[in-house]
């Protein structure tokens, strides 16, 4: 059952007098209880996609086309009030850097109960008890102490747990996790992701995991979408993508991961020729190995289903030629 369905989403940003495309014709869906990973390098449009879902684009950004259906309601057509009722309560978000995502001058307890208080899910006098319960649930051994502390008094991992507490406080059906472990050390990363995974399994919540770490994708995602230059270039279930990547960019990303069994002097990088400056610091991908002429780069691209559930973006319809 589809919980979220994004159809042909296009997002652009105003920069001086220019209109720059950040997201170009993105389509994907997330089923109930599924973890879908959105992977790509910085500037590929992952975070913009997630902010579009919640209607939280910066003031200079706007959705110029497409639909975002959540339980058959088009979020892009909802009024501010209706969207406000969905944010936090139905769809919540875990941000990348907990040190800046928490108000430094507000006590943790107050921040955790914001969503509960706003949506009036429980009585005001019950807020503290619920906050303490949630803090205990995410692994704080002394929730009362944390409740009265300020973010500056907590470690990075603890702050990230607080963000998770905020995100799950209203029992949302979908959690968007925007690189939730990037700012953390490896041990804490695993704790945080295990925590999210446990929560997901116990509540059948869906997760949109935004990351640039293939390791996390392999361990926690059910399906993967690879983004580049504001487009999804490849999408498949996690096993298919790791076993049989097709798009040169996906292959390039995977080859960039250091492998213990293949000692090399230098890490492999994606040697892409810069063909065309596009919106939002993205580039149209054109690797050295991608032997196509310039005309091809500028041709319209389409996602083609090469096998059931495995979509790859090609620059023309004769995909076999370009794959070689």
């Amino acid at each position: 059952m589809k919980l979220l369905e994004v159809q042909n989403l296009k997002v652009s940003f105003r920069s001086r007098k220019e209109e720059l495309n950040a997201i170009d014709d993105i389509s994907f869906s997330i089923n109930k209880g599924e973890t879908v990973a959105l992977i790509g390098e910085s500037g590929s449009g992952k975070s913009v996609t997630s902010l579009s879902v919640l209607g939280l684009l910066p003031k200079n950004g706007r959705v110029v086309g497409g639909h975002i259906f959540y339980e058959n309601k088009d979020l892009l057509r909802l009024g501010k009030k209706e969207l406000g009722k969905i944010r936090g309560k139905q769809i919540s978000m875990i941000f990348q850097d907990a040190s800046i995502s928490l108000n430094p001058s507000m006590k943790i307890g107050k921040q955790i109960t914001q969503g509960l208080a706003y949506h009036r899910i429980i009585a005001r006098k019950e807020l503290k008890r619920e906050a303490l319960r949630l803090l205990a649930k995410v692994g704080f051994h002394k929730p009362k102490e944390v409740f009265n502390q300020y973010p500056g008094q907590l470690s990075g991992g603890m702050k990230q747990r607080v963000l998770i507490t905020m995100a799950i406080s209203c029992n949302p059906q979908l959690i968007i996790a925007d690189e939730p472990t990037t700012a953390l050390d490896v041990t804490t990363q695993k704790q945080i992701l295990d925590l999210m995974n446990d929560y997901k399994q116990s509540t059948n919540t869906s997760i949109l995991l935004i990351t640039h770490d293939f390791g996390l994708v392999a361990e926690y995602a059910d399906r993967v979408m690879v983004m580049f230059g504001g487009k999804i270039v490849e999408a498949a279930d996690v096993f298919t993508l790791f076993k049989k990547p097709i798009h040169p960019y996906t292959k390039g990303l995977m080859n960039s991961i250091p492998k213990i069994e293949e000692p090399r002097n230098h890490l492999q990088t994606i040697k892409d020729a810069v063909i065309e400056e596009t919106a939002y610091e993205g580039r149209i991908f054109a690797p050295e190995t991608f032997s196509a002429d310039e005309k091809v780069y500028h041709s319209p691209s389409t996602l083609i289903e090469v096998e059931p559930g495995h979509h790859v973006r090609f620059f023309n319809e004769s995909s076999e030629v370009l794959i070689r």
Partner: protein
């Protein structure tokens, strides 16, 4: 902030000086007689000098050109000068804060145009603008007579609104900076309305900034009052007293409240022969500005410490 500020010696010293002047001013009737106009100084029945008298003749600060003791006048006028400056500064910041919320939140399309307009007003000398607006009021008061309370309110409203546009621009930019912070987006992602965000996040974060700007505005208002005094615009309006010499007298307008700018304005022509008449009120202005600067430095130190603490 509330507790940490009291640990700042600069803030304490500045506050002590300022409060001492205001309290002393209110209590002055207990210690000083109302200033008498003593224009002539006689020794052994002979006229030896005419006001203004120097600090050596009438310690500690001498007299003004009407023969009134400067110390008494300055202490008496301190409450009007300082309280009016504080009231104007507080209202400027309060109104600018309110307008800034509206300006920041709603005027997306008009903002570049409004910002250009505000920017252009910043470069107009405030004292000239204030003079142009207040001078007709002074004329009207002289001709028709306007009540003390009425004229103070009108003058304050004019002085408040002169300072509002640049502050709206400053506060609006501050609010823009705060609302772009990730913790605000995080709050919005929980479903909070913009009103909630302003009340619970933006305004508390702006609180220390507001206090700092109030302190800066007090200094600006004091400087503006000093300039207006030179241009013979006195806060609270004017009263007439007799001036002249033994042979002929005439009525002159002097400040009704005795606030400091009035002293500067009334005695400005004495600047060459009796500079103390101008320098002493200016000294009091400087002392007030110095104490306000101490308060501002104390506040800034506290804010820096808090920011460092929050970031750790």
């Amino acid at each position: 902030m509330r507790l940490a500020i009291w640990k700042q010696p600069q803030f304490l010293i500045g506050s002590f000086i300022l409060l001492s002047m205001i309290i002393l001013s209110f209590m002055s009737p207990l210690f000083f007689d109302p200033p008498q106009e003593v224009k002539y100084l006689y020794e052994d029945g002979k006229l030896v000098d005419v006001a203004p008298f120097s600090p050596s003749q009438v310690p500690p600060f001498g007299t003004d050109k009407f023969g009134r003791n400067l110390l008494t006048l300055l202490i008496n006028g301190a409450k009007y000068t300082l309280l009016i400056a504080i009231v104007i500064a507080v209202f400027r910041v309060f109104l600018s804060g309110l307008f800034a919320i509206v300006y920041h939140h709603y005027n997306v399309k008009l903002r570049p145009l409004l910002e250009d307009l505000v920017e252009s007003t910043i470069f107009v000398p405030t004292s000239i603008l204030a003079y142009l607006l207040l001078a007709p009021l002074a004329v009207k008061q002289a001709q028709e007579g306007i009540g003390f309370f009425e004229i103070v309110v009108i003058q304050c409203i004019i002085l408040i609104f002169i300072g509002v546009p640049p502050l709206i621009s400053i506060f609006s930019k501050d609010m823009g900076r705060i609302t772009r912070k990730e913790h605000i987006v995080s709050t919005l992602s929980l479903g909070a309305k913009h009103r909630y965000v302003y009340i619970k996040h933006v305004l508390p974060e702006m609180g220390s900034r507001f206090l700092l700007v109030i302190a800066q505005q007090i200094i600006q208002v004091l400087i503006l009052l000093a300039h207006l005094g030179v241009l013979l615009i006195f806060l609270g309006g004017v009263k007439t007293i007799l001036d002249g010499d033994l042979l002929s007298t005439h009525e002159v307008f002097v400040s009704l409240t005795g606030e400091w700018s009035g002293l500067i304005g009334n005695n400005f022509q004495e600047i060459v022969h009796s500079p103390h008449v101008i320098l002493v009120p200016l000294g009091f202005f400087s002392l007030t500005i110095f104490s306000m600067n101490l308060i501002i430095n104390g506040m800034q130190n506290t804010m820096k410490k808090i920011e460092r603490g929050a970031g750790s």
